[in-house]
């Protein structure tokens, strides 16, 4: 086992030596630092005094900015890991050694993961700094970091996997970007479309209110009539929303509730939204209103009733990453029985 890991380590070092030592990597690092750092510093300097309260929401966006930037850079580092080596003729030189396909692919995933984490590393001081100076909640930053690490790993695995299964480096890099775009934007569109597509005709009981002049209170009364209505069913497509990395991030950060029991920042609000869409549409009935006519908040207890969607989302990502890695391992297995048309072996 330790020999196996040692060999994996050799592949990782080889990968890093190739990727990290390229000029492009350093240039990208500097650009990322300037963009992310610049946005955070400028925000901090321009939001003074009372605006700081508003600033909380804006600062929250900087975590999303870091996620956006890292998810845009990672495919560039991983999307041609295997087919790029094939084209350069270096893949075969590793294939004729004692390295197994699994070590080769995992080494490449971990190598480009580490290389991409460099981008997170240059953003981290800015995030921590703004947290300490009062812009961000520190626990938000501390939870966001591991989630960012995992998400970068997910994109790395997808990139390396696709680069094993697709012959052309350019194509596999583009497809990796498309996968990132699908999860970032496509899931939102898919969720919206799915919600409408799955909408449903339902028959509901009609309720009415009886106002008592003397006591000044109203009573809920079921009229016994029914009516037809169209109900959207987001609960049937919420998995799509759960797979969105930004939603994962928002839901993973523990919500900070205000006096009314509602989350007070954008993460918590998104998280709450994802929890709510898990529940089937409620048929409003008089039971929702207490005997005293006060309204029972459906949000109450929702964190206990519903699944932690960040966990589900990460699970989906881990499964997909595993599938991509498995596909790449099958593709680098030698001696090869089948070859993609026009592919180069050595």
């Amino acid at each position: 086992m330790s020999r196996w890991l040692q060999m994996l380590g050799v592949v990782i070092r080889l990968e890093l030596a190739q990727r990290v030592r390229s000029v492009a990597w350093y240039v990208l690092l500097v650009i990322v630092a300037i963009v992310v750092g610049g946005v955070i510093v400028v925000l901090f300097l321009s939001l003074q005094g009372f605006q700081r309260d508003l600033g909380g929401a804006i600062f929250a966006m900087t975590i999303f900015l870091v996620m956006l930037v890292t998810s845009l850079v990672t495919p560039a580092l991983s999307g041609s890991a295997i087919n790029g080596d094939r084209d350069a003729g270096t893949l075969a030189s590793t294939q004729v050694t004692q390295v197994t396909g699994t070590q080769l692919v995992l080494g490449k995933v971990i190598g480009s993961w580490i290389a991409s984490l460099g981008f997170l590393a240059v953003c981290t001081p800015f995030m921590l700094g703004s947290a300490m100076l009062g812009g961000l909640r520190i626990e938000a930053v501390l939870v966001a970091l591991p989630i960012l690490v995992l998400e970068i790993g997910f994109v790395s695995a997808i990139g390396v996997g696709l680069s094993g299964m697709i012959r052309k480096p350019v194509l596999s890099t583009v497809v990796t970007y498309l996968v990132v775009a699908f999860f970032s934007v496509g899931t939102l569109i898919g969720f919206g479309v799915g919600t409408l597509a799955f909408q449903q005709e339902e028959t509901r009981d009609e309720i009415t209110w009886d106002f008592d002049d003397r006591t000044g209170s109203s009573t809920c009364i079921a009229t016994g009539n029914t009516y037809e209505t169209t109900v959207p069913r987001p609960d049937r497509v919420w998995l799509m929303l759960a797979a969105n990395p930004y939603v994962i991030m928002a839901d993973a950060i523990p919500p900070q509730l205000d006096a009314n029991g509602y989350p007070d920042d954008i993460f918590g609000q998104i998280g709450l939204g994802v929890r709510m869409v898990q529940e089937p549409p409620r048929a409003e009935s008089c039971a929702d209103y207490g005997d005293d006519g006060t309204w029972q908040d459906p949000v109450e207890g929702i964190y206990e009733r519903t699944a932690p969607s960040w966990f589900v989302g990460l699970g989906i990502h881990v499964l997909l990453a595993g599938g991509a890695v498995w596909g790449a391992i099958a593709a680098v297995r030698a001696p090869a029985k089948t070859l993609a048309a026009g592919s180069r072996i050595a």
């Binding site: 003729g89 270096t90 050694t97 390295v99 030698a334 001696p335 090869a336």
Partner: protein, 357 residues
């Protein structure tokens, strides 16, 4: 008799028209060889090699890509202790064959053994035993030669210190000491080639597969390569070397495997090809005397080709060459050079590809 005439296709139609009838006391014309109908029964009946004979064994290997049959039927044995040349025109299936031998590509059918190991069932044993140098060598361009050799050693399972030691040793062998710590992208083609060669040697393999190893090498490096391969074979190693430089192979290789259109050329075709006429290059102090006497001693005009000071004479057998030389000297031509224009392998190769010159 004009004597000299550039000929397009010489040997195919020559045999019937060789005899010149002079009948005036000149030396008898050189007898024309019969159509090469002779088939060496021994060469034709070459038995198929056994799978456990060591070295490289390929038995009825076949591989196609879609409808293209890159390798149809290849059977040969590259023996331990010998340098075997793999020769054939472009597209004959040499590279596909080498990829299969290097455990990178699976044959559709047939069996392969590299030092007794089957690449299909035990590729790791094959990779332990085999060093492979591809024709277009991929190098990690940002890594230094020392790092490359150390990494390859570690990928072959050497531990850190052993890999470093071996790398340092091979750097000296490849004469890359001065470039050992520069990125490998600054290496010239020949230096890359030397690096690629020692890279194939990192794990001390017993079988070497080399694809065009001499391409881009300077003469010194070629001599070294030859010495290295001879030494490798003398220590009991098996070398299979694919190249287009046939004169180079002539000097280096003990055996040859000729491949054409995805098949190993079997004995009888080989014998026929070797019987194809070969050109001899003759130079004399007096070129005009030479061309006159060539005609005079009875060499058919369509076997002679004069280019500047040199005369080329297509002859079917070495005995004929000896006779022509004797007669030219006897006729008083001041010969300064008399040698085959092409080597044995080149002659066979050209014979196989239809005698085109």
């Amino acid at each position: 008799m004009g004597g000299a005439q550039p000929t397009g296709s010489s040997h195919a139609a020559t045999t019937a028209t060789t005899v010149t009838q002079q009948g005036d006391g000149r030396p008898d014309p050189i007898p024309a060889s019969a159509h090469p109908a002779f088939v060496d029964p021994l060469a034709a009946g070459e038995p198929a090699p056994g799978l456990d004979e060591g070295g490289i064994v390929a038995l009825h290997v076949h591989r196609s890509f879609g409808s293209v049959h890159a390798v149809r039927e290849m059977t040969f044995h590259a023996k331990p202790g010998r340098v075997t040349a793999l020769i054939g025109p472009n597209g004959a299936g040499k590279t596909t064959l080498l990829l299969m031998l290097a455990s990178l590509l699976a044959p559709d059918s047939g069996a392969i053994r590299i030092d007794g190991a089957d690449p299909m069932h035990d590729p790791r044993a094959v990779r332990r035993a085999m060093g492979w140098m591809p024709d277009v060598l991929g190098t990690w361009r940002t890594l230094t030669p020392l790092q490359i050799l150390t990494t390859v050693g570690r990928l072959h399972g050497l531990d850190r210190s052993a890999a470093r030691e071996r790398a340092a040793e091979l750097i000296v062998e490849a004469r890359l000491e001065e470039l050992a710590n520069r990125p490998s992208r600054v290496l010239s083609r020949g230096q890359q080639q030397r690096l690629g060669l020692v890279r194939a040697l990192v794990h001390r393999p017993r079988v070497l597969l080399l694809d065009e190893p001499a391409a881009g090498l300077d003469p010194t490096s070629r001599v070294e390569l030859r010495g290295m391969l001879r030494g490798f074979a003398a220590d009991g190693g098996t070398v299979l070397i694919s190249s287009h430089d046939l004169s180079e192979l002539d000097e280096m290789a003990d055996d040859a495997v000729f491949v054409d259109r995805g098949e190993v050329v079997r004995g009888e075709r080989l014998v026929l090809a070797q019987q194809a006429s070969r050109e001899w290059r003759i130079r004399a102090l007096d070129p005009r005397a030479l061309s006159y006497q060539l005609a005079n001693i009875g060499v058919a005009f369509d076997r002679v080709r004069v280019e500047g000071e040199l005369a080329y004479v297509a002859l079917d057998r070495d005995e004929h060459a000896a006779e022509v030389l004797a007669r030219l000297v006897g006729a008083g031509v001041p010969i300064t050079h008399f040698a085959p224009a092409v080597g044995d392998m080149e002659r066979t190769y050209l014979g196989l590809s239809g005698g085109a010159r």
